[in-house]
Amino acid sequence: MNPDLETRHWRDRQAHAASRLSPGFADRVLRMARVSVEAAPSVLGQFLLGAATAAACAVVVIVVHSRVTQVQDQRTLADWQEIASSSADDLSQAQ
């Protein structure tokens, strides 16, 4: 492969690539860079969002756990009451 030809090819390719950039490219980039900097959340904001998410998850876990425990306690208490009443019936029948 001829080195001159290769150089010319690379130059043509570069010219072709450069032609793909639409007019006002630099201004558009600067505008977008400014917008993305303004829109980017701050470190403190990200930390607070993370902390709020973790707190909300913890509240959900505690509420669900206490609800499940409460239902289970009520069911167990009802079972014990049934056992106690049937034992009392058996005792009175035996007497």
Binding site: E6, W10, D12, A15, A17, R20, A26, R28
Partner: protein
Amino acid sequence: MDSTEPTELVELVRRAQKGNEAAQRELIVSYQHRIAGFVYAITNRSDSVEDLAQQIFIKMVRALERLQAPAQFESWLFRLARNTCIDHLRRQKLRRIFMPFAPEHEDVPEPPGAVDTEELDALRHALGQLRPQDRALLALVQEGRSHAEIADALSITVAAVKARLHRAREQLRQYYQPHHES
């Protein structure tokens, strides 16, 4: 930025680092064509050149204040460009795993007029056979960068640059076959 002296470039970079928009704009205008060519060399697709060049310069503006050696600006910018392009190609590869396209959609040909000669077409085809990293290497050589500068831009050693360059040239020669030669 061939016409700008290194000291002028350093001064320009320093002003851009301080948030001077005119300096940032001048940097973009000075490098946009070279970066576009570099992106095209790595991706081998001209339809993604503008998007990627935009991403690269936005990253440049946002990260410029963290650049500690303004004299190293060019190497830093080309390293940023190379990493952005490699990330883009990696994401594309991943997307293809989850959303496989039909073979005819995998390699959409360049739009008409994009490749205007048989030799260019053959070179594009040959370059397409190389790894994106090797295309980046050849593009930097064509940019007139020294081996040390290329090593800095690609985060590899000078010895690795020489070895990879030799291999990439051999492969390019092997794949380059214009129709009238074949």
